[in-house]
Amino acid sequence: MDLCLLLGIGVLAVVGFLIKKYLNKSVIKADYPKDTVIVHQLGSGPYCPSISPFVIKLETYLRMNKIPYKNVYDRVMSSKGKTPWIQYNDDVIPDSHFIIGYLKNKFNIKINDKLTPEQKAVGASFTHLVEDHLYWGLLLWRAVYDKNKTIFRMVGLNSIILWIFERKARSVCHAQGQGRHTRTETIQLIEDDLRFISDFIGNKKYFLGDNPTETDCAIFGQLCQFVWQTPDSPMETSIREKYTNLIDYCERIKSRYWPDWDELITRGNNNNKK
């Protein structure tokens, strides 16, 4: 009996793997428009166009640099098991960092050209702060510490999937390191990051001065999640009470690059979901 069960699970795993491979291949071979960046991603968020900060980062970059693109909400992962990823004609590129590098070369983007080497260095360091530190706090809050799992429920995940996802998030965050801290410590680390980002932005219009740069895409991608998509969290309270310049900053980028923001969010109504 046990052997039959094990064999059954093994067969299901192999079949699942083959279906996924077929789906991935069929997604890549689909008849997409030429000379248009095809962005493969999960789907709309309730209060931001995506619950993934990396999707917001990428789309903001595409909009900032007026690169034609089309979203495909197929929920198919890249070859690296992540999302978003892109196709551009015959090229397939995963990971937002490498996608932006590719687009910079392909479209000869010069948005960072006026920055000094020191400014570029500072921009790079803050990008890592938000993507390699603050991001893990966001994941821990949403998947583990938010008792209601508000955002994940609003995108339609049921209790069983949420239970599995919490286990997975705990494991991944433990491996990364931040998952070893307590809830109080995690919230403090998030708060510290937000405070430092707020102090650095100060009264500036954009992250590195009067003009937007590539760094703004990464910073906005992460910050918009905290400003609009961590409802009823201590971080949301801190931003509204203490770090209001983060709200002003996000509103500025949203008005400039996302005039259609409200059309792209579901507000929890999954009939609006893409």
Partner: protein, 246 residues
């Protein structure tokens, strides 16, 4: 704080060319020396309740995670070596520290534990190849979960160079990262860079720090001279008697 506290630092053990194999060990000890806080090292390889090293006992109380330890000691001894920085510079300091500890660190670990073809770690630690192979699989899995382990070796080196170039350009001709005086953040950055400077033999990481972005090499030497006059005594080198085995 009256200075009579007993501080025991639990850590991995002396490295052959740095006082620790872990950048967080070098970070913590550099801070303790900067703060002139007396401490005793116990190289017992015992992990903290969070499963990490280094950690300290402060009058018998466990304090873990190098950043939390420094915050704790700053509070106890009423000191802050970043206090002279502007609020904007403190933010930049935070950003560079996180870049080094949450991203560059993983490149160092991958070089050492996954991509090392010279078995340098085996030889330095005196572990057998099977154990080293097991550990390599464990690290690869963790790096994949963190994210950087999903990239190819060339992509990882590209990311690593990006970080080191940023640090080099920010440091520029300054003596320390934020001016003529070292600050708390220098302990963290030196901790990470020291591994690239001295303990990643034959790797691209070593090449970047020692040959391409040479102001980082000079910075490391400066920090070593200032806080570690006994550096050579704190490294096990090839001396079997000095090597700390777990």
């Amino acid at each position: 704080m009256d200075g009579k506290a007993t501080i025991i630092v639990h850590q991995f053990g002396r490295g052959p060319f740095c006082p620790s194999f872990t950048p967080f060990g070098v970070k913590l000890e550099t801070y303790l020396r900067m703060a002139n806080i007396k401490y005793t090292n116990v190289n017992d390889c015992k992990v903290s309740k969070k499963g990490k090293m280094p950690w300290i006992e402060f009058n018998g109380q466990e304090v873990n995670d190098s950043s939390f330890i420094i915050e704790f000691l700053n509070e106890k001894y009423k000191q802050d070596f970043n206090s002279h920085l502007s609020s904007s510079d403190k933010a930049v300091a935070r950003a560079f520290q996180k870049m080094a500890e949450e991203n560059l660190y993983w490149c160092m670990v991958l070089h050492r534990c996954v991509y090392d073809k010279q078995d340098w770690v085996c030889k330095a630690l005196g572990v057998n190849r099977f154990l080293a192979w097991l550990f390599s699989r464990h690290i690869k899995s963790r790096a994949e979960q963190q994210g950087i382990g999903r990239h190819s070796f060339e992509e990882m080196v590209h990311i690593e160079e990006g970080d080191l170039k940023a640090m080099s350009e920010f440091l520029d001709t300054k003596k320390f990262f934020f001016g003529d005086k070292p600050c708390e953040t220098d302990c963290a950055l030196f901790g990470q860079l020291s591994q690239f400077r001295w303990q990643l033999p034959g790797t691209k990481g070593e090449y970047f720090v020692n040959e391409k972005y040479t102001n980082l090499r000079e910075y490391c030497d400066r920090m070593m001279e200032m806080f570690w006059p006994d550096w050579d005594k704190c490294c096990s080198g090839d001396n079997e008697e000095k090597k700390e085995k777990c």
